[in-house]
Symmetry: C2
Amino acid sequence: MATRLSDVAARAGVSVKTVSNVINDYPHITARTRAKVEAAIAALDYKPNVSARSLRKGRSDFIALAIPEMGSPYFAELGAAISRAAKRRGITVLIDQTEGESAAERFVLDGMRGQLIDGIIFSPLATAPAKLTSADTGKPLVLLGERPAGGQFDRVAVDSVRASYDATTHLLSLGRHRIAAIGVGGTSTGAVRRKGYRKALKAAGMPHDPALELAATGYHRLDGAASMRELLALPEPPDAVFCFNDLLALGALRTLADAGLRVPEDIAVVGFDDIEDGRYHSPSLTTISPDKEWLADNAVALLLDRIAGNGGSTHRDLTVPHTLQIRESTAG
Amino acid sequence: MATRLSDVAARAGVSVKTVSNVINDYPHITARTRAKVEAAIAALDYKPNVSARSLRKGRSDFIALAIPEMGSPYFAELGAAISRAAKRRGITVLIDQTEGESAAERFVLDGMRGQLIDGIIFSPLATAPAKLTSADTGKPLVLLGERPAGGQFDRVAVDSVRASYDATTHLLSLGRHRIAAIGVGGTSTGAVRRKGYRKALKAAGMPHDPALELAATGYHRLDGAASMRELLALPEPPDAVFCFNDLLALGALRTLADAGLRVPEDIAVVGFDDIEDGRYHSPSLTTISPDKEWLADNAVALLLDRIAGNGGSTHRDLTVPHTLQIRESTAG
DNA sequence: CTGAAAGCGCTTACAG
DNA sequence: CTGAAAGCGCTTACAG
């Protein structure tokens, strides 16, 4: 165990500097020297010590991804995509679950894992980015999600207003008149998506009905199921529902199945996220599909660019492409 | 930025050794000295450099979790639970996605991330643990899953034979006679679960019918849907199906819905894993529910115990408690 | 192209 | 209880 650089140097008959040069792919090394060193590395099964390297260089090639919960399908899929995108670039991702708690989010930003991390991709829930300053982090940070970056950070996000407008317009095009929305409360996600929802109604010359706009405590199946029950209890229930994420929609579908209502005949349902569950559900779920690979790739690229010291003081705001995936929950 | 231990020492008017003692909670420090140091730490917003600490101590308090894919619900839920369990003990988890590829698994074990990691929790897919030696890892390793540890490693796993026996027996108790199994092929998971399935049939005095045992390429919804189509094409289709994980079951349910068959009236379905999707599906999915919190907690505890140098040469094999969750897919 | 040496920020015997 | 010093394994100016 514990073979060191100097062991490799001794075996290859060169200086440690030369070995280091080979490992780090520096120029000006003869092919013969390189071969000798590589043979020694292989023979000794040498692995560089990342702690030492990181201590010396001030860079670790580790980045953090802070998300509310990795057990949630959207974040699980996103985390998987970001890990893959980072690995392609030789970077390792540390995943932090904040559970959406302010203290945990603060801790992640504050600590930056004792300077091990080179930068962070942060999906805030409790923390308002506007309240953050770069002093809080000390290291590059890329924001994910709806919350405005306040011009202080780079950010990559779906155009949620536009996407919600698209989803609602689709429901309208089906001839639905009473279109409910689930998930309006609380988070800024709710506020932004409601904006697009209302905008679409307005464009169609329809007023929005506050009774059809349901807040949700969380964005889980449980919340969607409960909200749907409320909607069904209305004197005049909706004929369509736009749920602000797929989990809410899946919960709503469950309530509709229990109530014996047909989807989409009695009520059409649209979600947001395009998680795998929705594609296989019966009925399969019509949803807004953000390009997660694009998101992952660009978030990582943006962060690495910052870490490399590029970009200056102007912050970039990237819009993730999205499409509307029409499936059975609106199209029979 | 970059406040160092010596800065804290200077400000507090003590030696670096004393500051280090305070940070590491060593005894023999007067309350007054401790207060002075803590004030200086707070004033300077000092954070210890983990690279330096890890280099010096040879321990990082980081462990790795190597799983096939974190986007898959079971592993996402498990990863979340393991991260939480580790955090409770002051340990950080690095998640490695191996995609079930042999090379990636080898890389994780080999590299151990350049000695940064103190140990690993490993859920192998391609690598046979029997082929591993502790020399491959050099650091403590805890195995997850069906594959026998060959007496060389600690392991924590569900008793899959028993669980599969339970699932099949439940179907039998419902009076079903043609009980199919999906997922028998390829992995050792398939082999082990088939063993329990056949055992239950045998105990009930029923022969097993090879035509009803379907191999699956993967353990995803897609595979379950395809296998179910094959079963329905049989001259005499089954009246019950035991799917070796929930994703397969969810795919099978999709096929049944498309075919217009009623669950459980026409065909009863049981899964394995108890992922959240199954609980909200309509019909909700009867499944084997392994105690994931227990699994996470014990896997982490076991690994930390090893890292601490305990346990000697005898390896422990822990059995995760499981229950059968009876839901609509078998109980109307 | 290579060698000898300093230093990244800690922890830890070793003296006092 | 505290101080001065070595050393963990690298990378990197600095000379040659």
